[in-house]
Symmetry: C2
Subunit: 479 residues, 2 copies
């Protein structure tokens, strides 16, 4: 137990210093290492395995919906990035630029892709000629670079990994449907796979993607009440198509511009998992993406038969779950806190007396509740226990979201909440960017997260300026 | 049939112009599109699906052998790349360099990774302290950049996709074992998955990887007799460990340097598939990695019951194989040549008479042989037919390798073969780089491919200088 205590003490408590708690977890759960390149991280095996599990589930869903994976170049000639005015204005400040290739100064500078709309458009121009060529439903998994001043592993790094879907459609209606369909995929993924409830909504003009007509977002809440942009889906109309000269012969033989979407989620999702579910004992992983779903610990493993029986059970379970049997010489206490730190959703303990009773103990990472179960149906027991962990996580996060969401009817109230309470604030808004700017300024950083799909009518006037309200907005501080 | 003829005529014949034939295939089978960035390619869905199939099989094998995936930054600070002298000398000429980030001149230039030994070493220095931390068996799938003057899709592009394994071991012996084990994985993958026979061997000093002590290679032969470096595995000794100061406390409590390997294969593999198996009708894909394994074509599909029955069979097969049912309004001839062009290993045709007979026709893409088979055991029939296609491909490629491999005993003979015959040349070599240089010079490009594991004793003297021979070398021209 001495070891156990030592392990736990190594993490700063969330309430003491949330930022340090986060840093402690990413380091001590061996998710990342810092690298010599400012703002870039090494994703270690345990962190990368989470990303692989995310990719696998998401990629299957993209493909089920008819999307195909492609790979575009990582470099964008500067002139190509500049073809769409809003887009370049949005991204120019954060570009990494290659100026030398093969020991020669390049005649045209190359931007390391911050996102790939322009490359997809250049390609789509080559391959879209007729309505028969539509829709194009492409996606790519890749690295992108956005030069950041202040960085934090997973949440904000100069290089990150993501997927970017880029689709082209015959009609605006079809493209809008796709935009919302993919937002729905993200929302479902957060809720059903990551056990993180999200608010679905539309970004304001100020917060939308550079070059998009509409940006939709899913916004999960972190444990400390901060927001995080969980994933976005953009409707572009035919703006890029016009800028890039992408045209097709329609069903009526007229020449038309296709309508476009793009949508993406990144390794930031791992940051969301850490901050939505983690606690003072470390990481807590949703079972669906946990690299280890069950840590199997033989208790008194040197007693006759214990290790053999534990291994037999671990082998049985390994056919269906991701299992780690730890038969090292570390103490039980060390093992318990080690797998807690690493966020393994379920611990299975098995000692001589359990074996005598043909049973074992399952311990939930979330509630630490212990359950004695029979070995006869151990697969079903583990499956049920993992499902329960998922539900416990979801309920806990939903409770947090509920508890940390306030309503502000007056500006005084708004400022008071912003100063004294963490979390989201629901308040009415006139639709003017000036009020967004004023709020951000007056609160030292509270921004509009989104206009949620399920808007409520809180009052008739903007919480900030008192003019007639157009929308209810969810406001919050973000990572 | 008019359509069919038209399709086929679009490809340049291999014998007329092999390079143009290759270009025609990558474009017309829709594997790639050219991009506005010189030397970079767009990998289209059909091409990328091949890469995904390669990744899936290979990644499973890496993991089965205990390797874990990680992700390193894509940028290498110039000072880091320069830590190992041979390494930087090898890569400096082909680097793409980022000099601007976030609108500021960077204080240190960043190299876009051409390979990641230096990054792995920097990380390993942080995490390897004791023999208990070894071995480290890491791999990553990523993009890399090597600035190329002359480029060709898949074969030589400035950016390409690959995997790079980087491992650290307690002893030299263990690291050497790993080096050869992974070479074996590559060789088996070429032969058993891609149906391409390879020569396994060691690179000469001149041809080895920058910074390695030993480089091993698998060398497949292309249809026209050219060689292609199919995959390499390097033993580094402790050179990088010393340059980077990576040390660990050994079992005997002495401080030691670990021993290192790296190994990689890239999207060039797709170029090997095209050039080893393709023919004048287009691409020919080995069944294990073909995005479509069976093209199902209903014949006289408007006759009652044909489409229904064909769909029923396609659905049955789709549970086990990658199937494309083409019920479009294109002619049969168009469909046949379309799927030939795309290299689909097996075609299944089914018309009214076949259905009456409870049978269908299977056609091999390699031999075009037709086989009437019963629908009762269609899954087993298709499985056997795909296995046969694999074998046909392997046999054809092995035959080509055999036919295009010559033995040269004298230098005159060597020069004569190099000038008049395509393919590999087996000849004895003294071990001096001067002879390699002279041969390359005198033949306009014939280089040592490798010292094969199964060396033959052809004579006692070097084919070039007449001094005592140390090794038999396989020589050839390369892509």
């Amino acid at each position: 137990m001495a070891d156990n205590k030592k392990m736990v003490e190594q993490i700063t408590s969330m309430d003491t210093d949330f930022a340090q708690w986060y840093t402690d977890i990413v380091k001590k759960a061996e998710l990342v290492d810092y690298s010599g390149v400012k703002g870039c991280m090494v994703i270690r095996p345990y962190g990368y395995a989470i990303w692989e599990n995310i990719q696998k589930i998401m990629d299957a869903e993209f493909k089920r919906l008819g999307h195909e994976n492609v790979y575009m170049p990582m470099f964008i000639p500067e002139s190509l990035l500049m073809k769409e005015a809003d887009h370049v204005a949005g991204f120019a400040p954060e570009c990494a630029i290659v100026t030398i290739g093969g020991q020669n100064q390049l005649s045209e500078r190359l931007i390391v892709r911050p996102t790939s709309e322009t490359l997809f458009c250049e390609h789509y121009k080559n391959i879209i000629h007729s309505y028969r060529d539509l829709p194009k439903l492409y996606n790519q998994w890749c690295n992108v670079v956005r030069w950041e001043k202040t960085t934090r592993p997973f949440l904000r790094t100069s290089e990150f990994l993501w997927q970017e879907g880029h689709t082209m459609h015959e009609t605006a209606e079809e493209a809008r449907e796709e935009t919302l369909r993919m937002l729905g995929v993200y929302a479902e993924f957060y809720e059903k796979t990551l056990a993180i409830p999200v608010i679905r909504g539309r970004k304001t003009e100020k917060e939308k993607f550079a070059g998009a007509e509409e940006t939709y977002t899913v916004e999960p809440m972190m444990h400390n009440g901060f927001a995080l942009q969980g994933g976005t889906s953009h409707y572009f109309g035919d703006g890029f198509a016009k800028a890039f000269g992408i045209q097709f012969a329609g069903r009526d033989n007229t020449i038309q511009y296709p309508h476009q979407t793009s949508w993406g989620v990144s390794t930031r999702m791992i940051g969301a998992i850490i901050m939505a579910h983690g606690d003072d004992n470390g990481l807590v992983l949703p079972p669906a993406i946990a690299p280890i779903q069950v840590a199997v610990i033989p208790v008194q493993q040197h007693k006759e038969g214990v290790l053999e029986k534990t291994r037999e059970i671990a082998d049985r379970l390994a056919k269906k779950f991701r299992i780690k049997l730890d038969d090292s010489d570390q103490s039980n206490g060390w093992k318990f806190s080690q797998y807690e730190m690493k966020g393994v959703p379920l611990r299975l303990e098995m000692g001589p007396r359990d074996i005598e009773n043909n049973s074992c103990v399952l311990v939930s990472r979330v509630t630490r509740e212990k359950k004695f179960v029979s070995l006869d149906n151990i697969e079903a027991e583990v499956e049920a226990a993992l499902a329960q962990v998922h539900n416990e996580l979801y309920e806990r996060a939903a409770e947090n979201l509920k508890n940390r969401t306030s309503v502000a009817s007056t500006y005084e109230e708004f400022l008071d909440i912003a100063e004294h309470k963490s979390g989201f604030i629901k308040a009415m808004w006139c639709g003017d960017v000036e009020c967004e700017d004023k709020i951000k300024n007056d609160t030292n950083g509270v921004k509009s997260r989104c206009i949620p799909f399920n808007e409520e009518h809180l009052s008739d006037v903007c919480v900030c300026c008192g003019k007639p309200a157009k929308h209810m907005v969810v406001w919050g501080r973000q990572y």
